[in-house]
């Protein structure tokens, strides 16, 4: 593998250096202009460890019309990611070693990011029978994160058992917290607006009650719990309380829950239909504060591609979910960096270090330092860009940010010492 030098870049926004990369590893942080190797210009730009997404829907196998492992990997690389966790709710469900190995293998063949399959907790996500968690953990894919995402493991006994069972493999259960009876046919956040719009409400308590139950279960069986896409101020309070008790719980928040609020539903445009639903301004502010103080450990995109026809329809008939990989960093830039809630080391922590730790991916989230695997994203914080849905790499275009102008662009992405994105385009 050849040598590269990222010239004049500022790691974590600090002093400019040449990052020298040999055989996939950072071998030197040299004074600007002195590094040897194929030069990648990055004068004055910022280098961070490559982003790690804990929550990506790649749709393959089963819905290759919406996204493939290849197109999703491209979107990830363009968004500054070097690792994604592919959610299990594919068709067939990733509930056996065979499926997770297939996803893992295709990810390796595409070779743009680490594709880490997430295994289902229960067979076919049915919430009734434990999937072969051990087989998935011991497969070539080495699955450590288990989730029925899209559905909640709502049976308390089954949740207890899965929390216990994953301990044998050092795994974590990533819970999609949604009490099913409280959210039957739910369409949007429950509040004054859902009442006005005549939509079935999705109460905050339906999420908070499950998280509260699960942190107590995790404490009781001394296991690891991860709360997916936390969306309410109440959930933040519960997690903060659990952490203060020493419960081994981590949590993620999506970019869209950091920036969008429920009033967008008034347009009845299904591009804003998402699970969990967009909440209120108060929730948004609580989530930002929680990500800033570490109560919420990580940003996770919940990148959820859907074909056009599942969004170009009436609200009730539409699918839930939004694209996220290519806009995640800019949302963090706008909501966290610019207001001063996170500095660059903070961004590196929430978008790379913590998700890598939670996902158990040793080669990811390493610091920009000699000896680290060269997973690096180079950012231009001063540039602005406008989201054009059709121009995104994803096979779908269901971004809620069409026409929106954001700060911060991804200039280069290095994955395991090899450029995947150069100058904002796939290398």
């Amino acid at each position: 593998m050849s040598a590269y030098v990222i010239r004049g870049v500022r790691p974590y926004g600090e002093e400019a250096v040449d990052i020298v990369i040999n055989d996939g590893v950072i071998t030197e942080l040299a004074p600007v202009g002195t590094g040897k190797g194929e030069v990648i210009e990055a004068d004055g730009l910022i280098a961070l460890p490559g982003f790690v997404d804990l929550h990506t829907h790649l749709r393959e196998p089963g819905r290759e019309d919406a996204e493939t492992i290849e197109s999703g990997s491209q979107a990830a690389a363009l968004g500054g990611y070097t690792c994604v966790h592919a959610m299990a709710n594919t068709d067939p469900v990733a509930d056996t070693a065979g499926v997770v190995e297939q996803v893992w293998r295709i990810g390796r063949e595409v070779g743009l990011v680490d594709v880490r399959p997430v295994g289902a907790v229960t067979v076919n996500l049915d919430g009734k029978h434990l999937a072969e968690i051990g087989a998935m953990a011991n497969s070539a894919a080495e699955v450590t994160v288990f989730s029925d995402d899209g559905k909640c493991v709502h049976d308390a006994l089954l949740m207890r058992r899965s929390l216990e069972y994953v301990k044998a493999f050092g795994g974590v259960v990533a819970q999609h917290a949604q009490e099913p009876r409280l959210t039957e046919n739910a369409q949007m956040n429950e509040g004054a607006l859902s009442g006005k719009l005549g939509m079935v409400g999705w109460p905050a308590v339906a999420e908070e009650a499950i998280i509260a139950r699960d942190v107590l279960l995790a404490e009781h069986v001394d296991s690891r719990l991860h709360a997916c896409h936390v969306s309410t101020a109440g959930s933040v309070e519960v997690i903060r309380w659990a952490k203060s008790r020493g419960v081994n719980v981590t949590a993620e928040v999506t970019p869209h829950h950091l920036i969008l609020t429920e009033d967008l539903v008034e347009t009845y445009n299904p591009v804003y239909k998402v699970n969990p639903p967009l909440r209120t301004k108060k929730d948004v502010l609580a989530l930002r504060a929680a990500l800033a103080d570490g109560t919420i450990d990580a940003l996770a995109t919940d990148h959820a591609p859907h074909p056009h026809e599942h969004k170009d329809c009436e609200w009730g008939a539409a699918a839930m979910g939004m694209l996220g990989l290519q806009t995640a960093f800019s949302v963090v830039m706008e909501t966290m960096v610019e207001p001063g809630l996170l500095d660059w080391r903070g961004v590196a922590d929430r978008m790379s270090v913590q998700p890598a730790r939670i996902g158990g991916v040793e080669s990811q989230g390493q610091p920009i330092a000699v000896g680290s695997v060269a997973n690096i994203v180079v950012i231009d914080p001063k540039a602005k860009w406008t989201v054009v849905p059709e121009a995104l790499a994803s096979k779908s275009s269901n971004t809620p940010f069409a026409e929106r102008t954001f700060p911060g662009t991804i200039v280069h992405t290095m994955y395991a010492g090899r450029p995947t994105v150069i100058g904002g385009v796939l290398a």
Partner: protein, 313 residues
């Protein structure tokens, strides 16, 4: 006015214009020849994804009295039930040259989507969407109240209205609250707490759980249909208990002031939310509501379609 999607979209002047126009339409309906040439050559499509014979017939009659061509497009027995999307249905209607689409849909917001998604160019009239709104019902209710309580003129300042029943699932209630507020009436919603939406405190109305304390103070009481199947979802224990606590029977009707009227959007569950004695009493104006519905819908169709397309916005 290009579309009629929500009663909340109407300002006071627009609402009064519709009611005044409806009054003229009603006068014309008394004549031997009830048909007007006004919308000759215009096509109105009744696009009904939910069964509602009453509303559909009312719109159909309104359009026909104005000489529009009417196409009834029922989801049942059409390609919709075979899975055709609202969008494709809309594109089909557009290709057929529909000037207005009167839509009834189970999904809240479907008419708004139809009007704003760039699928069709014509006017959209919301004939009831999910648990959201039913603006022409609110207009005909206001028209009926105005006739009885305000001599058919002006707005409804100071008129006190109780709406009783399943507010949570009622598009009639939502539209009525918005329109009655615009017209200056004072609304009290009466229901068990399970059948009231979260966030009611932001609505421009009072809320009560006690029908008996409300009835003596109102000029009109509107009873909403309560679906028997709500019992299964634990909204209330039994039909009998609901009827006992919230139904309008003869004794309760006698709590109303002398001049007060009883409305119901129909179809009624006699013995459930309203007793036969009340339904058949001379305070009940249900039959008149039906007739007024035609006049109001004529007014709406005329005001939406009676002028040049590009100028009527």
């Amino acid at each position: 006015m290009r579309h009629l999607l929500s009663a909340g979209d109407l300002d006071r002047d627009q609402a009064l214009l519709i009611l005044d126009t409806a009054a003229e339409m009603a006068a014309l309906s008394d004549r031997s020849v009830k048909k007007l040439p006004t919308l000759r050559g215009r096509t109105v499509v009744n696009l009904f994804f939910e069964d509602s014979t009453r509303t559909r017939i009312s719109f159909e009659l309104a359009a026909k009295r104005l000489s529009a061509d009417v196409i009834n497009f029922a989801a049942k027995g059409s390609s919709v039930s075979k899975g055709e999307s609202l969008k494709d249905t809309a594109l089909t209607l557009e290709a057929m040259g529909a000037d207005a689409v009167v839509i009834r849909h189970w999904d809240s917001g479907a008419p708004y989507r139809l009007a704003h998604a760039d699928w069709i160019g014509g006017s959209v009239v919301n004939a009831g969407d999910g648990t959201h709104e039913h603006p022409t019902q609110a207009l005909l209710d206001a028209y009926t109240m105005r006739r009885h309580l305000r001599d058919g003129k002006g707005a409804l300042e100071g008129v006190r209205v109780a709406i009783v029943g399943d507010i949570l699932h009622s598009r009639v209630a939502r539209s009525n609250v918005l329109l009655l507020q615009t017209l200056g009436a004072e609304v009290t919603l009466v229901a068990p707490p399970t059948l009231l939406p979260i966030g009611m405190e932001t609505w421009p109305c009072e809320v009560s759980y006690d029908i008996d304390s409300v009835l003596p103070k109102v000029d009109a009481v509107m009873m909403l249909r309560v679906q028997q199947e709500r019992m299964q979802a634990a909204y209330f224990p039994t039909a009998r208990e609901y009827s006992r606590l919230y139904g309008l029977n003869g004794d309760r009707m006698r709590l109303l002031p002398e001049h007060a009227i009883v409305l119901h959007p129909g179809p009624m569950n006699r013995g459930m939310e309203i007793s036969a004695e009340v339904a058949d009493s001379d305070r009940a104006v249900m039959v008149e509501q039906v007739a007024n519905g035609v006049s109001v819908r004529m007014a709406v169709l005329y005001l939406l379609l009676g002028g040049a397309k590009e100028l009527s916005e």
